[in-house]
């Protein structure tokens, strides 16, 4: 897809070639500086900002987007995109509510079915993208409409309520060792995804696919299988996020999760993952998520209306990429 340009490789700067140098000039480093600066500034402005209570509450709020951002990072690294995550989120919630309330399933089985729904959604995306060669942007745009349509159709605008206590207070608002359940889940998910991306051949293959799919194919990598797997992972995580979300808000609605796709992609791209594929880290995505939430929360505590923070996020998104472009051009090769 990307045009091949031959650029003369000039080693202008030895430091920039070293391991440390590469980190110093990476998008993650820039982001880290901005994030720390923002946290420091907001902490001095408001003593409530860095309290455990505030932090853990914010974490619960960011949980769904964060969980979906993990597979999205893998997908974008592999040169794809998944716009249907918000709709998968909604459909999974509706399946859960419908099976439990209208079809008399036990809640445990309904949860399993809901997770399976997400997996299936991801499978549908992946198989069509891989087998029929439909561009991911178009395929997931179509399933964005399709899955949301199914959610609306199944629910007929009704909502499920009255979930048992072990589900709502136990999971959605539950604590484990003094921290919200969401935090533990998120930590496990981050660790696993990081491990897979950074420490396995599967992870390396995603970078290869994203930077040059033809070459990856010729190198004998299982391109189709791996692409299918990451879309299924994405569907599954959207469903998992949805189940936890339902347990927190204790109701299901067909419009749940709409717009999540843009929040997730914003965080991933802000975190330095190239939208053209081949570049990106889980650490960057986490930073992107943290920065967005820090700004939202910090500005809110500072008494600035929530809408101004949306503007801020837009500006920072563009600026971060701009600064990164500049630094890459200035200090890295050429």
């Amino acid at each position: 897809m990307a045009s091949i340009t031959e650029q003369p490789i000039q080693k202008t700067n030895r430091f920039s070639e070293s391991r440390l140098g590469r980190f110093v000039f990476s998008q993650e480093a820039i982001l880290l500086v901005i994030t720390i600066a923002a946290i420091a500034l907001l902490a001095t402005q408001n003593e409530r900002f860095l309290t455990m209570r505030n932090v853990s509450r914010e974490l619960v709020l960011i949980f769904e987007v964060a969980l979906i951002a993990l597979p999205m990072t893998l997908i974008i690294i592999a040169g794809g995109i998944d716009l249907s995550v918000g709709s998968t989120f909604g459909l999974s919630a509706i399946v859960l509510g419908f099976l439990w309330q209208d079809s008399g399933w036990s809640l445990e089985m309904a949860i399993v079915a809901s997770l399976f729904t997400g997996l299936l959604c991801g499978f549908i995306n992946g198989i069509v993208i891989v087998r029929l060669g439909v561009p991911p942007l178009i395929m997931t745009l179509a399933t964005l409409a399709l899955f949301r349509g199914f959610a609306l159709g199944i629910s007929e605008a009704r909502s499920a309520r009255g979930f048992p206590e072990w589900f709502t207070d136990g999971i959605g608002r539950g604590d484990f060792l003094g921290l919200p359940i969401q935090m533990w889940l998120l930590l496990v998910a981050i660790a696993l995804t990081w491990l897979v991306l950074a420490r396995t051949t599967f992870g390396r293959s995603l970078y290869a696919i994203g930077s040059n799919e033809v070459a990856a194919r010729f190198a004998g990598l299982p391109v189709n299988r791996n692409k299918l797997l990451i879309y299924m992972y994405s569907g599954f995580m959207a469903a998992l996020a949805s189940v936890i979300f339902v347990s927190r808000v204790t109701t299901t609605r067909a419009d749940m999760g709409s717009g999540h796709e843009l929040d997730v992609i914003a965080a991933v791209v802000l975190g330095g993952t190239s939208i053209f594929g081949g570049v990106g880290t889980i650490f960057g995505t986490i930073l992107g998520l943290v920065l967005i939430q820090v700004l939202k929360n910090g500005l809110l505590l500072a008494g600035i209306k929530g809408d101004a923070t949306i503007i801020m996020i837009g500006v920072i998104l563009i600026l971060a990429i701009l600064v990164n472009n500049f630094i890459q051009a200035r200090f890295r090769s050429v």
Binding site: I138, A142, L152, L262, I311, G314, V315, N325
Partner: protein, 334 residues
Amino acid sequence: MTASNPPIEAKRVPMRLSGWITQETVLAFTIVFLSLAVGLINPNFISERNISDILYNSSYIAVAALGMSLVIVSGNIDISVGSLIGLLATIGGRLAIGQAEGGYPEIVAFIVPIVIGVASGAVTGFFVAYLRVPAIVVSLGMLSILKGGLILWTGGEWIYNLPRWFQFAQERPLGLPAPLFFMVILTILMALWMRYSATGRAIYAVGGNKEAARLSGLSEKRIIMTVFMINGFMVGIAALLFAGQFNAIQSTVPPGVELLIITAAVVGGVSILGGTGTVVGATLGAILIHIIPSAMIFANVSSYWRGAVQGLLILLTVLVDLYRRRRQSYSGRG
């Protein structure tokens, strides 16, 4: 992307007929067939009133899809158009209400939104063309900025008591809804311009192969700037058509409009990979995605399943287009 295709087989297909089977004719056929089929079930569907309602509703989406198809043909994307429509409609509405007091000519309420639309397009285009930030990132940032700015400015309150002259979209010259004229005339103008002007051809060239376009002496940067500014112009007109539809404007962003517009262009055969597609297709696409919900109401299908059917149809259109393209490229026509 051709890499994922199976190797080219020298399968000869008789080409006389298939020259006529373009995405546009497939769409036109689908629209006619669908109308007749539903018309047989319920003759009211093809009543003059309903047909003109459908065209009325699809006009502003179609006008915006014209601009979007240019952006996509040039190999970019703009997901901020929904927010821009919301903002420009509000600006137009406020100017229209203040006209009597402010004493400026009525035309100001039309000119200013269009000028701001073009300016916003120029900003996006500048970042994409000159600062090399990917279009999806810039427009994602613009989406946040415009949306946040709009809510911050208006607080989402409604604008009532719009003067009659501002609601020109509700006029019916020659017994036809006014937006229809805008849709038809702009589509014809854009189609001719894209086909016969040097800039129009250059847009295809840039979208098809940026490097080749640059090497053949086209100023890729200026063309991308132009494309985004035209898109801003079209969005400005679409916003005025949208604003004039009703007797009040809610000064928020109409949800999901950007996806509707992109969908119209894509269903119309504009390839998301750039380089191919026509504006006529985009207009037909906009009409098709508005016919479906209406057809379902008249065919007595539960309105809850509207979205699902719409999604399925989008998917089907994309798949048919893909299949057609494959056949054509196998038989040696590019």
